[in-house]
Symmetry: C2
Subunit: 498 residues, 2 copies
Amino acid sequence: MFETAELGRSLPKETYEAELPALRARLMQAQLALKESRSRVLVIISGVDGAGKAMVVHRLNEWLDPRGVNTHAFDEPTDEERQRPYFWRFWRAMPVRGRTAILYGSWYTEPIIGMVHETLKRAELDAAMRRIAAQEQMLAEDGVVFLKLWFHLSKEAQYRRLKDLEADPHRHWRVLPTDWKHHQLYETFIRAAGRMIRLTNRPHAPWQLIEATDDRFRDLTAGRLLLAAFEQALAMPSKSAAARSGRTAMPRLKVTPIGRARTILDQVDLTRSLTKGRYRKQLTARQALWNQLVWKAADAGVSNVIVFEGWDAAGKGSCIRRVTEAMDPRHYQIISVAAPTEEERAHHYLWRFWKWLPRDGRVTIFDRSWYGRVLVERVEKFATTAEWSRAYGEINDFEEQLCEHGIVLHKYWIHISKEEQLARFQKREKIDYKRYKITEEDWRNRKKWNAYKAAVNDMVAHTSTGNAPWTLVPGNDKRYARTFILKDLGRRLKRAIK
Amino acid sequence: MFETAELGRSLPKETYEAELPALRARLMQAQLALKESRSRVLVIISGVDGAGKAMVVHRLNEWLDPRGVNTHAFDEPTDEERQRPYFWRFWRAMPVRGRTAILYGSWYTEPIIGMVHETLKRAELDAAMRRIAAQEQMLAEDGVVFLKLWFHLSKEAQYRRLKDLEADPHRHWRVLPTDWKHHQLYETFIRAAGRMIRLTNRPHAPWQLIEATDDRFRDLTAGRLLLAAFEQALAMPSKSAAARSGRTAMPRLKVTPIGRARTILDQVDLTRSLTKGRYRKQLTARQALWNQLVWKAADAGVSNVIVFEGWDAAGKGSCIRRVTEAMDPRHYQIISVAAPTEEERAHHYLWRFWKWLPRDGRVTIFDRSWYGRVLVERVEKFATTAEWSRAYGEINDFEEQLCEHGIVLHKYWIHISKEEQLARFQKREKIDYKRYKITEEDWRNRKKWNAYKAAVNDMVAHTSTGNAPWTLVPGNDKRYARTFILKDLGRRLKRAIK
């Protein structure tokens, strides 16, 4: 999930300064208009230590009219607060209609700390998240517009940030003793945060991940999202209109991307390659290991589900062959996913994948998968926006059930460059027995490269989870891709049956 | 919750036989039409042992065209099933578009058994329910219409039913050895079932409680609800229409009540009364005990929230006075709830009640309360149907938070007959210092007696929960009502601080 907030996005000073005056003017204007409406805006500031949350709070306060906004910082609860139910202190901070409240620290803080320090079990965290989601839905249905911001830093970036601050004689006091302790717990924290975000990322109160390595990018993005939230609040129908239609309209946030639109795929190092000699050696060794591990898994009753996705001509088929070559045919089945049959269309889209789940100790390999819902069905508009948007949550829920059952789930996106794809298409057209592999549809898909790229980025952002992470495979060199996958499969399965 | 399914509802043979042919004809017709639609119906059969669930399944199969319906009975999972995630076996039973599936035993069975035998902790049950709710929502959004039937028997009715069956030489085999064991666990079972129903009673998949003491009433109600489900399925927009509007319409089930419309209030014995002499004695004793207990609670840090609701002129004020007379003024506050102020209107409707929650060891008495949302606001149409419908869940969630914090929550509805109310109104108009108490509005409310009665019944059905049950107080005799409440308060508080 957080991979998509580790893209190194930044903003040059000139762009920042050129954008700022207009943004500030529009923020003020929107805030003024909000006063007349029955809606209100609740900003929740969360994220990684060192990401500059306090700075963002200062900045937003600087940009807004102080008479329309309240900032509430939540620290340890007071006696008064401790003697009431958990949400009591937050209800005190609720904005009235026409106003904005910024919560620095929120109802998310305690559960996540509980998770990190293991005072809270997972089922308890889930229950806390269910409650939070219900509260947020209730408030949203009453006209509260949510802006939930998560400011993210990678572990390395957090380290650099803390070190830089310490070295600065004017700012070293910003580093709290707890900051370094939290840095040690980074992985645990991020895992808990990912789960938390996944369980509370709902249409009425979506999370926004903001990459926080660059101050200007961070602040301007926050400001722009706040403006979007104001505009959403202003677009709400009046009480009577809402009552007539029987529900409150909740348009989605639309955010103009700032700066160059980088996606997670731009992070993949496509120069990786392997000589034929090393390839042979690696392939043999890794296939042997994979074979051994699959036998062990069969004995232990551990099953595997392997998902292959990727661009047309990325080499999914040849990768799958290298994986299955090393397996006993009784252990696996390959499911090639094409357009659904009539029976499949008469069911929920997940039905045909449920059907093929392996029994204990077996392996199912999906050549394309349920991710079609958020890739081809999204890009080709076979699914409505509502359908593919909610599919992320449905897929997470589905995969969580697999993992809870003990299935080891592997997900690979094989990435190639647009140029490499063209070269492969042209080559295929020249070889008789490969010509069947290339169709009109492939050329049509190719024209939608950027739309697919955005879809892949969103897919990774929403569905790369602790137990079921996405692995992006550099695929320009086929040899490299194949051994890379075999190595990764082995590593993950070994860990699962150890 | 289940009180509303213990009203002794039954159906005379003639009514049943007169209604049945038309119902069966319409069921067949609707089922036929369903085949052409893209929707499908999923019937879940649950309930108390001895309620006749198997009989209902037979009946429905008898009434339907067997070619359009599949019945799946779920017992212990097979090897095949155990080796896959929990939901796998249920996905195999999903109806295709145009068809109906009846699940006898379902995804609810295992969690509830786990709760009863305490192999499942509450947070785990909640997590299981969250997952079920998500699955049901996903299927509903894909066009599945849910009919979730809960067949209810009181503990006494269950006992009688099992005894009757045992005594019948032709049917004694229907009593399974486990049935008596479950009878022993009735209270635990009902508590778990109540929680389960509350957590999964959602607009897209509502539960229907059916009183099952009378076979004819039980079967005809199930049949009528199934017809309503068919009609809901047929009313669904086609795929393209749904896609255009961006969401699937999900109209609410509308069911014509069968037989005389009894409500929970008809169960209250209004003949209860107390002589002046006994009243004096009881009042003194119970006030003394209450005083003691409140002091103890203050020392122990246990707080109380007491809610008084009831008809106009039911005597809420005088009951509250008898309760507070016995308390130290530092211990309590009374919140009289009238129309909201301007500030209160600028917040969510629950905000003004959150505000007044007592700190540890204190008592807050609400003279009218958040239940206004589902009583006066519903009847007077101050709240939209969507608003008051979802308020049940919001209120349950709110009260659950109070109980989890350790607050003892008492909820009293003081009931009087319509005639008694009239007598009191007329009496008040004759007494100078009481005349201010009776307004035009009271007379207007009186005209809506039946609408309020239905609202009270729904309120109890949805919000009388394990930790926060409703107590219906016989109020025709004021003396009886006052000592009844004091006794009940004492009993409940004593249990909480023991």
